[in-house]
């Protein structure tokens, strides 16, 4: 089958009734669409679908629709679209042949005939399917089968590495956690007090705080010494042993003996 069938077929070219979504479709006496109605009319010709007279069929369809209109039946749009197309086909078939028209009316008629044959074939196939010896209607399975059981057995798998790694993980996890803090180089406040007090001695000239720090290349230790010496200077000033002088915030801090 091919998607193009329905698209290319002139019967459904314009109105695309097959696709018209959600349109209320009135079944005319239970026909399922115009093709179904056409097939029923074709059957009434009582000839092989391959030999059917399309012209006669078109006449019947148009007459049927005309009758339905006379009776003021509401006719679904797709039946009317088909009627319009068939009226067009009829006029083409009756007019003298125009070789320029493509597809030719004969080809259109042939396509319609093929469609009817296909629908008829599938309708018949459906009937034959339903007439077969069907399970649960004509033939029966065993009423009370013991049933086959599949017992699932787990085949456990693990690799040696998993085992060893797991053991390592357990041991590592259960190790008592001892936190050893590495000793950082610091100058304690006590050390700084002694050092600054000793170095200031009785000097009356101002000296920068930095000049009281020990010689070191260790930046960490230097920072610690600076902080401790600063606190030591404050402490000594509080006790009245030294005087402090700073011209402005963050300016160098000067110390001398009081």
């Amino acid at each position: 089958m091919d998607e193009r069938d329905s698209l290319a077929d002139p019967a459904f070219e314009d109105g695309a009734p097959v696709r018209a979504a959600d349109r209320l479709t009135l079944d005319i006496d239970g026909w399922e669409g115009p093709l179904d109605l056409l097939l029923t009319l074709a059957r009434s010709q009582k000839v092989d679908l391959a030999r059917i007279s399309i012209l006669a069929l078109v006449e019947q369809y148009l007459a049927f629709i005309a009758d339905a209109r006379k009776l003021k039946l509401e006719i679904a749009a797709d039946y009317l679209v088909m009627a319009a197309w068939l009226a067009y086909l009829k006029s083409c078939l009756l007019l003298p042949k125009d070789p320029a028209v493509d597809p030719s009316p004969e080809e259109l008629a042939m396509r319609l005939q093929l469609r009817l044959q296909r629908l008829a074939a599938m309708r018949e196939a459906g009937a034959r399917l339903l007439g077969r010896d069907r399970l649960g209607r004509d033939v029966f399975l065993r009423g009370d089968p013991e049933g086959l059981r599949v017992v699932r057995r787990s085949a456990w798998q693990a690799e040696l590495y998993d085992l060893i790694a797991a053991y390592g993980a357990v041991r590592a996890r259960s190790e008592p956690a001892v936190h050893v803090v590495a000793r950082r180089p610091v100058m304690t406040l006590e050390e700084a007090l002694l050092r600054v007090e000793r170095m200031v001695g009785g000097r009356l000239e101002w000296a920068r705080l930095e000049s009281f720090l020990p010689e070191t290349k260790d930046a960490e230790f230097r920072k610690s010494a600076l902080a401790s010496s600063f606190v030591a200077a404050l402490e000594l000033a509080r006790k009245g042993r030294v005087e402090l002088d700073q011209k402005s915030p963050f300016a160098p801090l000067f110390i001398r003996a009081a």
Binding site: M1, D2, E3, R4, D5, S6, A8, D9, A11, F12, V18, R19, A20, A21, T25, E32, G33, P34, L35, D36, R51, I52, S53, I54, L55, S104, E106, E107, M110, R111, Q113, L114, Q117, R118, L119, A121, M122, R123, E124, A125, G126, A127, R128, L129, L130, R132, D133, R134, L135, G136, R137, D138, V139, F140, L141, R142, P145, E146, G147, L148
Partner: protein, 192 residues
């Protein structure tokens, strides 16, 4: 009765006991690898031909079922398994003979839209399943029949669909365009 080979007995027992039709693989898994399951199945099928119970193959799976001609003694409740609408029957036939087939293709053959419920009914019955998307514009979903369809309608395979060969030979399962070309080759344009 003559003694049956143990292999045959085992295959017979497995099929009798099974709640579902069994493939040859399933049978082998139960009766053991050393058994020539295919040969046993063929022989058993012969044993049961003409009996009240027959061994049948449906889409590569095997099961026992009662003989069709005994339906009258077994159909106590006389219930039709499932009444299908005309639309559903036609749709099922179109799917079976054309599968995999898209919804638009089904509609093209029937000349009407199919309502959502029609395919649902067929899928709920377990006879139709979605069968992937077609590599074509819009990637339409296609439908095909199932194992349960073959079982229910007593078909050994899709090749057993009634009249399949005739329909094929008549070109009635081909797209209309292909059929038209064929007709033009065989004979000039026919004007009825």
């Amino acid at each position: 009765m003559k003694e049956l080979a143990d292999d045959l007995r085992a295959v017979e027992a497995a099929l009798f006991a099974a709640a579902e039709p069994l493939g040859a693989d399933d049978i082998a898994a139960h009766v053991g690898d050393g058994v020539d399951v295919a040969a046993a199945l063929a022989e058993l099928q012969g044993h049961y031909a003409g009996r009240g119970v027959n061994l049948v193959e449906r889409g590569g799976r095997w099961h026992f079922q009662t003989a069709a001609d005994l339906a009258h003694i077994l159909r106590r409740e006389r219930e039709e398994p499932r009444r299908l609408s005309r639309a559903a029957i036609e749709t099922l036939a179109i799917i079976a003979y054309h599968e995999p087939v898209s919804r638009a293709e089904i509609e093209a053959i029937r000349g009407v839209q199919i309502s959502r419920g029609t395919l649902d009914v067929l899928m709920e019955a377990g006879w139709v399943r979605p069968a992937g998307r077609r590599e074509a514009p819009g990637r339409p979903l296609t439908y095909a029949t199932t194992q349960a369809f073959l079982q229910h309608f007593g078909l050994a395979s899709r090749r057993d669909l009634p009249g399949l060969d005739d329909l094929k030979a008549a070109g009635l399962l081909d797209p209309i365009d292909a059929a038209m070309e064929q007709l033009e080759l065989e004979s000039g344009p026919e004007g009825d």
